[in-house]
Symmetry: D3
C-alpha cells in the first residue's frame, strides 16, 4: 500500500517533517511519502494563498496517479482543493482538517481546535460546518505563530502552544484538542503530556484513516459529482492542466 501526503505549499523542510510524522503511523508493508508542488506560495495563511496552492496540489495528484499511489492526504489544515483532488485522484483523498475532526469526534463529545494565525479560524469554522462537526466543536483558537516559524520553534515555543491548548480545553470544557496546522504534527507527544487529553494531529489522523479506507477497498464515488473532470480547453499559464 502506498500513501502520499501532499504539502500544498512549496517549503520542502515542512514537506519532510510531514513525511516523518506520517511514517510513524504506517503499518507494516505500508509506504508513506510526502511531496510538494513546483508552483505556488511558500506557506498558506490566507484565502488568497490557499487558492493559489491548489493548481500545484492538483499537479501532484496527477503525478501520484501515474506513480500508482493508493491514497492521498492534503497536508494543509484548510483542506485546499479537496473536491477537485477527489475528482482527479484514482484513490481516496482526505484533508488533514477533515481527518482530524473525524478522529477527534471518536474520542470524546467535544473538542477544541488550536490553529496558527487568527485569520485562519474562519476557514476552520467553514470546514467544521461542511463536515458536520459544528456541534462537537467547542472552540477554535489561534496561537498566532506563523506557519513557517513552527519549524524552528524550540521547547519554549512548543510549551507555549501546549499551554494555550490547556487553557482552551478549560475554557471550552472540551475532551480533546485538534492541532490546526500540518507544521504542528511533530508536537503531539509533548503537548499531550501538558494537556492530559487526546491531542489530534491531522497528518497522522489522515494517514491512519486512509489505510482503513484502502483496506476496505473503497475510493471516491464516480457517480455524478465526483466523476473524472471532463475534457476541456485550458489556456494561458495553466495550459498544462488541460484534460485531453
Amino acid at each position: 500500500m502506498h500513501i502520499r501526503l501532499i504539502n500544498p505549499n512549496t517549503t520542502t523542510a515542512m514537506t519532510q517533517l510531514i513525511g516523518r510524522s506520517a511514517s510513524r503511523v504506517a503499518g507494516e508493508g505500508v509506504t508513506v511519502d510526502a511531496v510538494n508542488p513546483s508552483m505556488g506560495p511558500a506557506s498558506i495563511e490566507s484565502h488568497y494563498e490557499e487558492a493559489l496552492a491548489v493548481p500545484g496540489l492538483l499537479e501532484q495528484i496527477a503525478l501520484g496517479n501515474a506513480d500508482g499511489v493508493d491514497g492521498f492526504a492534503i497536508a494543509c489544515f484548510g483542506d485546499p482543493g479537496l473536491d477537485a483532488a477527489r475528482e482527479l485522484s484514482d484513490g481516496p483523498v482526505l484533508g488533514i482538517a477533515e481527518a482530524a475532526f473525524h478522529a477527534a469526534s471518536m474520542v470524546g463529545r467535544r473538542f477544541s481546535v488550536m490553529t496558527t494565525l487568527s485569520r485562519t479560524r474562519g476557514r476552520a469554522q467553514e470546514l467544521m460546518d461542511r463536515y458536520g462537526f459544528a456541534h462537537q466543536c467547542a472552540g477554535i483558537h489561534a496561537c498566532d505563530i506563523p506557519v513557517l516559524e513552527l519549524e524552528t520553534l524550540g521547547e519554549d515555543g512548543i510549551y507555549a502552544i501546549a499551554k494555550a491548548c490547556r487553557e482552551a480545553i478549560e475554557r471550552d470544557d472540551s475532551d480533546a484538542v485538534v492541532l490546526g496546522c500540518a507544521g504542528m504534527a511533530d508536537f503531539c507527544p509533548q503537548i499531550s503530556q501538558v494537556v492530559g487529553v487526546p491531542v489530534i494531529d491531522g497528518v497522522v489522523a489522515a494517514t491512519g484513516m486512509l489505510q482503513g479506507l484502502i483496506r476496505m477497498g473503497v475510493t471516491t464515488s464516480r457517480r455524478g459529482e465526483y466523476a473524472a473532470p471532463p475534457v476541456k480547453a485550458m489556456t494561458g499559464a495553466l495550459a498544462q492542466f488541460e484534460i485531453r
Copy 2:
C-alpha cells in the same frame, strides 16, 4: 460608480452576454463592464475546472483594483474564489449564486434552483448551506445542458429549460426559481412568462445588490480574516501572483 463582472472562464462570447445582462439593471451614472481571465478553463462544470479558474479570476481582481473598480461580481454559479477575491479587492465582491440566493429569499419563503449539469448540484448545495439558505431551498435541479451550449440555445431550448423550471416549482412547491448559471442570464424574461413566479438570475441580482452596497459605502471588513493577503514568496507558473 463602476461595477465589474468577472466571468471566470475564458470564453469571451459568454463574457459579452454577462456584460449585456448586467447592464440592464445599472442605474443612471453606473458603469458596468465584464471581463474574463487570460488563463484557465473554457467553462466550469467540475470542481477541477472551478479550482483552475481561480488564479485567472484573482488576476482580474488585481487589474480591476488598478482600474478603480468600485465592486466586483464573480459571474459563475459556483462562486469560485470568493473568499480570496474579498481579501484582494478594494471594493465589495459578490458571487452570483450568493446574490441570487439572497434575492430569492426576499420574494418568497422557498425557492427552487435550476442548474446546468447534474454534477454541479453538490456545489450549489454546499453554497446554500454556507450562506444559510438551506431552509429556504426547496430543491436543486439540473437541465443537463452544458454551459457552452447555452449561448447557441434557440427558442426551443429555452422553452425546455422553462418547462423544467415549472415542473421543479410544482414538485418542490416553491415560490420562486433561481437560474444556476451565468449563461442563463438572458433567459429570465422568457422563463418568467412560462413559470409565473419570480425568476432570479444571479448576474443581475449581484449587479443590483452591489450598487446597494457601494451606495451604502461599505466594503469587505479588513478586521482579521479578510485583511489583505500577507507578503509571501510565490514560485513557478504562479510567480506572477506574488504579493510584495
Copy 3:
C-alpha cells in the same frame, strides 16, 4: 422609481430622520420618502407594541399601493408585519433587520448586532434564525437606550454606543456590526470611525437592496402563500381593513 420607508411607530420626528438617512443612498432618478401610521404606539420596544404597530403599517402599505410606490421598507428592527405586508403590497417589501443581516453577511464572515433595549434581543434572535443568519451572527447586544431618546442623543451618547459596538466586536471576534434600530440610522459615519469595521444600518441597507430588486423587475411571488389576502369580513375597530 419610488421607494417608501414606513416607520411603523407614530413619532414623526423619527419618520423624518428615517427619510433623510434613506435618501442618502438613493440613486439618480430614485424618489425616496418616509411615512408613519395614523394609529398605534409611539415607539416599539415590546412584542405588545410591535403587534399593535402592524395595523397602521398595513394601512400605509395600502396607501402606498394607491400612490404607485415601487417598493417598501419596514423601518423597525423587529420587521413587524413583514409577511402581511408582502401579501398586500404591489412591490417588494423588505424589513430593515432583514436587509441589514443580508448586507452584513456580504462584508465578512460574522457580525455583531447592537440593539436598543435588552428586551428586544429575543426578537432579533428569532429573525436571525428565520432568515438563516444564525451561523453568521456572533452576538446580539443592547445599549439600553430607549428608542425615543436616540433622537436627542448628543455626541457623548453616540460615542457611548460606538464604544459598546467596539467592545462587542472584540468580545464576539466579529467582522462587522449591525445597528439594531431605525433610530440609529444617522449614527453610521460616527460609529464607523470608532469601530474600524463595516457598520450596517438597516434603513440604508433596505433602501439600497430595494433599488436592486426593483431594477431586476421582481416582486413577491404570488404563488400560494403570498397571494393577495382573500375577501373577508372584518369588524369592529378594524373594519376599515376589510378586503372587498
Copy 4:
C-alpha cells in the same frame, strides 16, 4: 382553576365548538371557557388576517386577566400574537400549534400536519422551526377546505380529511398526525379510527398542557423579554390599547 380559550377570529359558532372540544379534557374542578374578540377578521387564512386578529386577541387577554383567568390558549393554528400575549397575560399562554407539536413529539419520532388551505403551510413551517420540531416534522399538508366550511362539514367531508391524513402518514412514513386548525378539534375521534395512529388536535393539547403548567405553579418569566409591556402612548383607532 380557570382556563380560557381565545378564538382570535370573530365567528362565534367556531368559538363555541372550541369551548366544547376543550371542555372534554378538563379535569375535575377545572373551568374551561372560550371567547372571541369584538374586532378583526371572520377567519384567519392569510398573514394579513392573522396580523389583524392580534389586537382583538390582546383585548381578550386583558379582559381575561381582569376575570382572574389562570391560563390562556390561542385557538388558531398560526399562534397569532403569542409573544405579545405572554407579555400581557398574568398566567401562562400556549398557542394550539405549539401545544400540538409538543404533544405529537411525545408519542412518536415523526409526525405529519394536515392544515386547511395550502397557503397556510408556510406559517406552520415557520412555527415548526421556531419551536424546534423541524426534525420531527415529516410533512405539512393541506386539505384545501376553507376554515369556515369546517363547521358545516358532514361525515363525507370529515372522511375526506381522514383519508388525506392517512395518505400523508403513508407518504411521510410518520407516527402521528396533527390537525392544523382549531375548527378540526371535533374530528379527532373519527379521524383516529381511519388513520390508526395518534391524532393530535391543538385545542385539547393546549388545554391539557395548560393544566399541567398551572398545577406546577409556573407562568411566563418576567425577566427581560417577557416583562409587562412598558407604559407608552397609543393613538388613533388603537388608542384603547394604551398602557398607562
Copy 5:
C-alpha cells in the same frame, strides 16, 4: 387516572421523595405513585450506570402495565431507556428531562439547566439536541453535588444550588432554569424565591404533562418504530425479559 413515576435507581428514599413531589401536581381523582427496580445501580451518574438501570426500569414498566397504570414518567434526568419503555408500555411515557425541557420552552425564550455532577452534562446536551431544544438552551451547568447527597442536603446546601442557578441565569441571560435531577424535585419553591424566574423540575413537569396526554386519550404510536417488541429468545442473567 393512575400515573406512575419510575425511579430507575434502587434507592428507595429517593423514590419516596419523587412520589411526594409528583403528588403535589396531581389533579382530583388522579392517583400518583412511585416505584424503583429490584436490580441495578444505587444512583445514576455515568453512562455505565444509566445503561445498567434500564433493565430494572423495563421490569417496572411491565409490572405497571399489569397494574393498569395509565402513563409512566422515568424519573432520572438522563431519560434512560425511554424508547424501549415506549415500545413496552401500554400508556404514554415521558422522561423527566424531556418534560422539563418542554415546560421550560413554554415560559420563556431561553432556559438554563443545573445538573448534579459535571460529567452528566454531555448526556443533557445530547437529549437537548434530540428533543429539539438546543436553540432554547442557554447553558448546562453542574453544582457538583452527588445525587445521593441531595437527600440530606440542608438549607445551606439548597441555598448554594439556588445561588448557582442565579449565577447561571445571569451569565446565560436566560428566562428560566431547569433542575437536572429527580433528587432536586423538592427544592423548587426555595430556589424560585432566590432566582426570581420560573424554576422547572422534571418530576412535576412530567406528572403534569402526562395528565394532559392521558386526558387527550393518546399514547405512543404503534405504527412502525414503537410497535410492541417482537417475540425473541433472551438468555442468561436477563432471561426474565424474554417476550413470548
Copy 6:
C-alpha cells in the same frame, strides 16, 4: 495490535461471520477476533432488545480489557451502549453505524442507508443526527429482512438487497450506500457489483478506523464525561456489574 469486535446479540453464527469479515481488513500483525455476550437477546430489532443487549456488551468490554484488547467495535448498527462502553474500555471504541457514516462521508457528498427492518430506521436517524451526518444522509431505507435470516440468505436474497440499494441510490441521488446491519458485512463485494458506487459496511469500516486510532496512540478522553464509572453499589440480577 489486538482489535475485538463485540456482537451484542447472543447468536454465535453471526459472531463468526463478523469475525471473518473484520479479518479481511486487518493489516499485518493485527489480531482481530469477535465475541458475543452470555446474556441478552438473540438479535436486535427493537429499542427493547437493544437496551437489553447492553449489559452483555459491557460484560465483554470488561473481559476484553482483562485480555489486553487495544480497541473495540460494537457490531450492531444501533451502536448500543457506545457511551457506557467508552467509559469502561481501556482502548478506543467505535460503533459500526458510526464508523460506516464516517467512511461514507469520505467518499462522496451524500449517501443512502439500507437497514433490515423498517422499525429500525428511527434509531439510524437518531445516530445520524448525533454524529453530525444528517446533511450527508440522502435517505434511510429498509429491506425488511429480519437480522437472523441474513445468515442463510442465498444469492437471490443478496441480489434483492442489492437491487433495493440501487433503487435507493437512484431515488436519493446519492454517491454511496451504507449497509445497516452487521449481518450484511459479507455482502459488500456482491452488492458493489450491482450498484456501481462505494458500498460501506460498518464492520470493516470500524476495524479499519480502529487500526488508525490505535496507531495514532489515542483513546477515549478521560476528562470529565468519559472518566471511568464511579464506584457504586449494584444489586439484584445485575450485581455482577458492580464497580468496586
